[in-house]
């Protein structure tokens, strides 16, 4: 039985199975919807909301979502940052980054010099506003990541990120600060991640800042798609050329982030 014949048989079988999958999924979907209807009619769900609002003043933030995210279920957020870090480490373990794209044209270069600072400022704002209105660490981090992406597209192979050593510290910042705060609180007898009401606001802000930086760098590094060249790896001639071409001083995101209290 030559290969092609078995392949055709396999393909034909897959087609039938796909049909079967489609039909059964449709049936399952219908059943789920019907059961969903029953679940909704039970109507027990919203109880949790009242409790959340009732406890809000003790969390140190007025935006309920941020309260849930960083106070009620802070542990989830901690673990979620770890997930992001794990994904990035996975990407790094797969191999060095691709050498990057050809130099960008004048229009993109101009846009970069305008958009990137704007993104960073908005990120800062979103981080701050998260306390009392929709916003917060994730949104700010996403914007910073977008800034990195644009810089990368504009031709900087390292998407504006510092050397490997610094990058590693920045990546780790989020989870490290979070865990240290938790352990610190535990050491003071308050229990892991139980913020005393007085300091809750500042602690949350501190964690948020660290998280934003970590998320921003992680997303940018993920877009770079590989391990940054190690400190000992001499930048190849082609890197040199790319760097000079970009003249414009690569905006270093960290300083811009100093929040105006």
């Amino acid at each position: 039985m030559s290969m092609s014949q078995s392949e055709s048989r396999a393909a034909e079988r897959n087609r039938d199975l796909s049909l079967l999958v489609a039909v059964s999924l449709a049936v399952l979907g219908a059943a789920l919807t019907w059961l969903y209807f029953i679940a909704l009619s039970a109507g027990a769900a919203p109880r949790l909301a009242d409790l959340a609002y009732e406890r809000l003043p003790g969390t140190g933030v007025s935006n309920p979502v941020t309260a849930v995210l960083l106070n009620y279920r802070a542990y989830d957020t901690l673990m979620e940052l770890a997930v992001l870090l794990a994904a990035l480490l996975g990407i790094w373990s797969l191999g060095p980054a691709a050498p990057g794209f050809q130099r960008s044209g004048a229009v993109l270069a101009g846009m970069v010099s305008w958009v990137v600072p704007l993104l960073i400022v908005t990120g800062g704002y979103l981080l701050w506003v998260g306390g009392y209105a929709p916003g917060g660490a994730f949104q700010a981090g996403a914007l910073l990541g977008a800034a990195g992406v644009i810089v990368r597209l504009a031709g900087d192979p390292r998407a504006g990120l510092p050397g490997e050593g610094a990058q590693r510290w920045l990546l780790v910042l989020g989870v490290l600060v979070f865990t240290l705060v938790g352990l610190g609180l535990m050491a003071f007898g308050a229990g892991f991640l139980t913020y005393p009401p007085k300091f809750a606001k500042w602690l949350i802000l501190l964690i948020e800042m660290a998280a934003t930086v970590a998320i921003g760098v992680a997303l940018a590094a993920a877009y770079v798609g590989g391990r940054p060249p190690g400190p000992e790896a001499q930048p190849t001639a082609e890197d040199e050329d790319a760097l000079t071409a970009a003249e414009t001083p690569t905006p270093d995101p960290t300083p811009a982030l100093r929040p105006q209290p």
């Binding site: 679940a39 949790l48 106070n71 373990s93 191999g95 490290l176 229990g191 913020y195």
Partner: protein, 487 residues
């Protein structure tokens, strides 16, 4: 009093961060983190041993809102096993990775995986379990692809996709439960499910989605397709962790959901489905292991088989009324899981050593290496006897109680499955061991590479001697009556 609960999770996380930040001291920091986490786990077991189940609401908020961490008998036993195996793997890994890049990538991911494991065993909140499952899946997939060759990447991509599919299906189950009951805490949900029989439809749907998702990750028979290539192509310490711990975590979740959350809506007939699949898994896994050419593929298929054994317990638990007999069954289930954990880890570590020493792991021409490394062959022999379930090992007692339960509840057919499985298992284990009796020159000393062989040997020994001869304490740890099944 509940500090060890948190430490078990925080310490490996902290270690992971430090290791990522300071790659040059990765190994030393890694070992320190491993040791501290293991001691935290031991402390946790000690506290649970004295005070019974530990319960902690993170953040001090009340039950519905906050995330709960819970450590009852089953969870603690598995945490202890996971951490001891983890310690063994860490010690082994210090000597295993020589390439600088690999070392930098291995330790952070390994510690993250370890944190995820502890987090998952101790979690008491459904959504938190989802996040832990994700962290576990991603770290495992990343670690699996460490070797970087084509098969490893393909296998681990498939593993990641399977993991994601499973998690998303699980998440939808959580969503349905949240829609119906409005809370995410396991304890409260259990009361909710028990209190509202009229919502059986929703419960059924949620259970189906969650258990099906987790079955994918626990590699129950037809859904095991991703496991052999993933575990066989991973580096030895990683495959040891994957086989012994990661797959077991998924099974633990299914068990937790089955026994605690959805117990009211399950009965014998329902339990029969996973058990039948488990039985087929036992036969198919052992049969494929017998036909495998490579040692690590053999070990991977043996994992598929051993997981099958664990699922056999479900119908027995469903059929036995609460009492000493049911305690024995539960303890036997735990014993099988623990013994497999230790034995499979020992087996993979030893297999790794054989592979590095021989340059390949094709079973048929392993003669020279098996002869040259007596300690490794001895570790393989001991862990092999634990996998088969030969007397001195814990799984012998597990199988004894399984068969006893099967006969007592009249489901005698499981005895045939277990016997066939044991025979096939002894066939493929002794197929490997018979290589050690060739005409090669006599090995001069027993232990050749202490740093690698000692962990493998100790893990195998624990599975055989400790669990085989002194498994009494397990009953007390699980809080089951000491008089379980008469003196």
């Amino acid at each position: 009093m509940t500090d060890p609960l948190v430490l078990c999770i925080a310490l490996p996380l902290l270690g992971a961060m430090l290791v990522t930040a300071l790659p040059r001291w990765a190994v030393t920091l890694g070992i320190v983190a491993a040791l501290s986490t293991a001691s935290a786990a031991v402390a946790l077991t000690a506290t649970v041993w004295q005070h019974g189940t530990l319960h902690l609401m993170l953040g001090g908020w009340d039950a519905e809102l906050a995330i709960a961490l819970r450590a009852d008998g089953i969870a603690t036993a598995l945490v202890l096993m996971a951490n001891l195996v983890g310690l063994g793997i860490s010690v082994y890994a210090t000597g295993y990775f020589h390439d600088r890049i690999r070392v930098r990538s291995f330790w952070p991911l390994w510690l993250l995986l370890w944190a995820a494991l502890n987090g998952l065993f101790l979690a008491g909140d459904l959504f938190n379990l989802y996040v832990m499952l994700e962290l576990l899946g991603i770290a495992a997939a990343a670690l699996g692809a460490l070797t970087g060759n084509r098969d490893a990447v393909a296998a681990n991509l498939r593993y990641l996709l399977v993991g994601l599919l499973g998690s998303i299906s699980y998440l939808l189950g959580v969503a349905l439960l949240y829609t119906a009951y409005g809370t995410l805490d396991l304890g409260l949900l259990a009361q909710g499910v028990a209190a509202s029989p009229e919502l059986y439809g929703v419960n059924a749907a949620a259970m189906t989605l969650m258990v099906a998702g987790l079955a994918l990750k626990a590699a129950l028979f037809p859904l095991h397709f991703w496991l052999p290539p993933a575990h066989a192509n991973a580096p030895a310490p990683v495959s040891a962790a994957l086989s012994a711990l990661v797959v077991k975590a998924a099974f633990y979740l299914i068990l937790r959901l089955w026994l605690d959350l959805f117990w009211p809506i399950t009965d014998m007939a329902v339990a029969m489905l996973p058990a039948m699949l488990g039985a087929v898994a036992v036969i198919w896994g052992s049969w494929r292991a017998l036909r495998a050419e490579r040692l690590k593929l053999l070990a991977a298929y043996s994992t598929v088989a051993q997981i099958g054994y664990l699922f056999l317990f479900l119908p027995l638990l469903a059929a036995t009324p609460p009492g000493p007999a049911r305690d024995d069954l539960l303890a036997a289930l735990l014993l099988m899981a623990l013994t497999h954990g230790f034995a499979k880890a020992g087996f993979f570590l030893a297999a790794g050593l054989v592979q590095t020493n021989a340059g390949h792991d094709r079973i048929d021409d392993l003669g020279g290496t098996a002869q040259r490394l007596p300690a490794t062959t001895f570790a393989i022999a001991l862990s092999g006897s634990a996998l088969i379930g030969l007397p001195p090992s814990g799984s012998f007692i597990g199988k004894w109680l399984l068969m006893q339960g099967a006969i007592a509840t009249g489901q005698w057919w499981w005895v045939i499955v277990v016997t066939a499985g044991t025979l096939l298992a002894s066939a493929y284990i002794f197929r490997v061991l018979s290589r050690a009796f060739g005409l090669e020159p006599t090995p001069l000393k027993f232990v050749t590479d202490a740093r690698a062989e000692v962990p493998a040997l100790t893990l195998a020994l624990v599975s055989v001697a400790l669990l085989g001869l002194a498994s009494g304490p397990l009953w007390t740890l699980l809080g089951l009556g000491d008089a379980g099944g008469g003196a």
